[in-house]
Amino acid sequence: MDFLTLLQILDSTLRLATPLLLACLAGLFSERSGIFDIGLEGKMLIAAFFSAAIAATTGSVWIGLMAGISASVVLALLHGLASITFRGDQLISGVAINFLAAGLTVLISEDWFQQGGRTPQLSGAARFNPITLPLTDTIGAIPVIGPIYTEVLSGHTILVYLALLAVPLTWYVLFRTRFGLRLRAVGENPGAVDTAGVSVTRLRYTAVIIAGILCGLAGAYLSTGFSAGFVKEMSAGRGFIALAALIFAKWRPWQALGATLLFGLLDALGTRYQNIDILGVNLPVQFMQALPYILTVIILAGFVGKAIPPRAGGEPYVKER
């Protein structure tokens, strides 16, 4: 493997990690507040569709983005309604949301575009285009660092940089603000938050809505940044990989970045090579695809560091003495 190939792989790693990272942070907010979210996939999918569909019809990717985020937030609110207001099973609600998105996106795209569950191809202002970072010429001349800067870091869409920025932001919000303190508390012991005079319901709804927005960004990136249009089932299990990354990261923002980059790398390798030789062992591409899931199971099994979810996770809050 030469240097240029390595750069290309790292470049696509970043591309592939971005939706995972955004969805993973979405899950982080939701689950830190005590609401399990296996509906990341569905929210991403519906956002991907609406972003592309509205971008195609209006010609503006920004309006498309707003539409995508709105759609994702609507599903997030549905999840909130089921799991916060009506104290339903959060896992079942997540399952339902995934199916709802899978069905609605195809149904509506058929109705709107009649292209077999696709939206029209996006181009120009209707999609996010690559941004060249400043000083590429100057920095690009430096050996090693230069090519990394120009080939790997530069030339992505704004959403990629937004996703990277979301990591320190999430860290700050979670550990350095009042909201973050309350959010972490409500996922551990909602009773403590309630008796301290803070509304559990409001906190959890806020968290769920933030998750909706981040999933919206992830979905919009898929159909308007990563690809140029929506195709049926385009989230392709990324919501679940994000969930896996969240567990892998033990619900922490910086670790989430690490985990999603790792899973992005696996994806990049799998896309590029049909088989990979490691120490004489031939690994088929399907193994690379399954690796994130296998790693997550190993982490969950607690053989390599135990992943302990927020203590009140999955349980609807009922006031009690």
């Binding site: 973050g180 403590a192 005079g197 003495r321």
Partner: protein, 524 residues
């Protein structure tokens, strides 16, 4: 923040005749259950006001209304003479009410400081909030002698310390009225005494304190005024100095309490249960039971006394096959498997050990199972309950259940009713019927009358004594000293996972047992 409250307040409180808090005609029903009926009460400022009543008398419901957890169906709350709506905890806090719940409301993996600050931050940014709170917390701690390490994690400190954090939380929020719900349930007598000193100190600083408890001793020791609740109603409010424990007890239960159980002297036979160096370590690696040695003979009740959480539950769990242990346990001279293949509850039952668990709703019954299904619970391998090698004989179980329900006067006597549909006393009778009717060699029984009405208490006590008189061995665990003293033929006291010593009921009293329960007295 909280500083201005201390200056000049005691005098003002002494002069004031306006109640700090007044409830007028509060009623609250949960479905068909009337938890509070037309309750009125006046709490004067700068006093400690006790509210006493049996479990389920409605004390906690009343306080939850005051803290904005439930909305009263009728009635109003006046704070310092002002009519106040309390729709949520936020409103209660603003009104100057602080609450220390029976089960602490603390975030386990937060520090003391973070727990105190939570919900009362001074701004959107956390760092300045924490810095400010730290200073105030140190001051508060010094002022009220509530020393805690602000940076300790809650999960690393003991219950006594956690309770102080709860009190500090309330003080940090400038609470003028402090409500404590059964605060001593998890404390040793020494810790409880410390708590009372703190409460008296707070009173001297002008705070108003409401103490909810079912323990007469605490009321007599620390309160100025006491209100008695019974079955959702407030039956009396009296000055503590002008009443007696006997009088209060009578007010609580509505009639003279039968403190001594009628029973003949025991005629103990051979040793049935021998426990030798039994130790139990929990999943967190904490040793809960330390080299416990005891024995129970046939025709004898051994009472195990102790403050809740000192290893009694673990003792029952280890003997009943719920948790594993180390050491030796022999039943009728034969070794019992404590860790291996035959250490489960099934094997214990097969050996003739029956177990009435401490928490019947969590362990003893499946609340969604019908009475007949619960009667088979733990005995579902009984050949009499089988139709064939694979199938159970549900008709036979129902018939058997009907018989047992009749013998133990379970009402209503309908085997098809779900366990959750019965009252606490009848649920307990259902469990007792199942376990006692098995004619065990050894009966383990924990908190037999917790949450049980007076009428059923007598019946349950009689059944336990009757089993003893049939020559069975009984190990009784109870946190109610009265119950231990009146039922036991011998008393073992537990403290911190160890047996502190044994006493004969006739040769000891509550005072001596209390010292042993606190770990201050040890011996033979």
């Amino acid at each position: 923040m909280a500083m201005q409250t201390t200056e000049g307040r005691p005098d003002a409180a002494a002069l004031s005749t306006e109640p700090a808090i007044e409830l007028v005609g509060i009623s609250k029903a949960f479905g068909p259950v009337q938890a509070n009926k037309d309750i009125s009460i006046r709490v004067m400022p700068g006093t400690i006001h006790g509210i006493i009543g049996e479990n389920g008398a409605g004390k906690s419901t009343l306080m939850s209304i005051l803290y904005g957890f439930y909305k009263a169906d009728a009635g109003e709350v006046l704070i310092r003479g002002q009519k106040t709506e309390i729709p949520n905890s936020q409103a209660a806090i603003s009104a100057g009410i602080g609450m220390v719940f029976q089960h602490f409301k603390l975030v386990e993996n937060f520090t003391v400081l973070e727990n105190v600050v939570l919900g009362a931050e001074s701004g959107a940014r956390l760092t300045p909030s924490l810095a400010k709170a730290r200073k105030l917390l140190v001051e508060l701690a010094r002022e009220y002698e509530l020393n805690v390490n602000p940076d300790a994690l809650i999960e690393d400190i003991g219950v006594g310390m956690q309770q102080r954090v709860e009190i500090l939380k309330a003080l940090y929020r400038q609470a003028e009225i402090l409500i404590l719900d059964e605060p001593t349930g998890v404390l040793t007598p020494a810790e409880a005494d410390h708590l009372f000193r703190i409460l008296k100190g707070l009173k001297e600083q002008g705070k108003t304190i409401i103490l909810i408890t079912h323990k007469l001793r605490e009321i007599m020791e620390v309160t100025d005024t006491v209100s008695v609740m019974r079955r959702g109603e407030m039956t009396a409010t009296v000055k503590t100095a002008e009443t007696s424990p006997e009088h209060l007890a009578e007010l609580m239960v509505g009639r003279k309490v039968l403190l001594r159980v009628d029973k003949k002297p025991a005629t103990p036979g051979k040793t049935v249960l021998e426990v030798e160096n039994l130790s139990v370590t929990d999943i967190d690696g904490v040793q809960r039971l330390k080299d416990v040695c005891l024995n129970v003979r046939a025709g004898e009740i051994l009472g195990v006394a102790g403050v809740a959480g000192n290893g009694q539950s673990e003792l029952l769990a280890a003997l009943g096959g719920i948790t594993a242990g180390t050491g030796h346990v022999r039943l009728n001279g034969e070794e019992i498997d404590l860790t291996g293949r035959f250490s489960d509850g099934q094997s214990r039952r097969a050996r003739g050990i029956s177990h009435v668990p401490e928490d019947r709703q969590r362990l003893g019954l499946i609340m969604d199972f019908m009475a007949w299904e619960n009667t088979a619970f733990g005995y579902h391998h009984d050949p009499a309950y089988q139709k064939s090698r694979l199938l159970m004989d549900n008709d036979a179980i129902r018939a058997d259940t009907a018989k047992k329900m009749e013998r133990f006067d379970v009402r209503p006597p309908d085997p098809r009713l779900k366990a959750k549909s019965f009252s606490g006393g009848n649920q307990q009778k259902l469990v007792l019927a199942r376990e006692i009717e098995r004619n065990p060699d050894l009966l383990l029984v924990g908190q037999p009358t917790r949450g049980v009405d007076i009428g059923a208490i007598e019946f349950i006590h009689q059944q336990i004594v009757a089993l003893r008189d049939q020559g069975k061995a009984i190990l009784l665990v109870s946190v109610e000293l009265d119950e231990i003293l009146s039922l036991s033929d011998r008393i073992a006291v537990m403290f911190d996972g160890q047996i502190m010593g044994e006493r004969l009921p006739a040769q000891t009293d509550e005072k001596e047992l209390g010292m042993m329960m606190a770990g201050m007295l040890k011996g033979g």
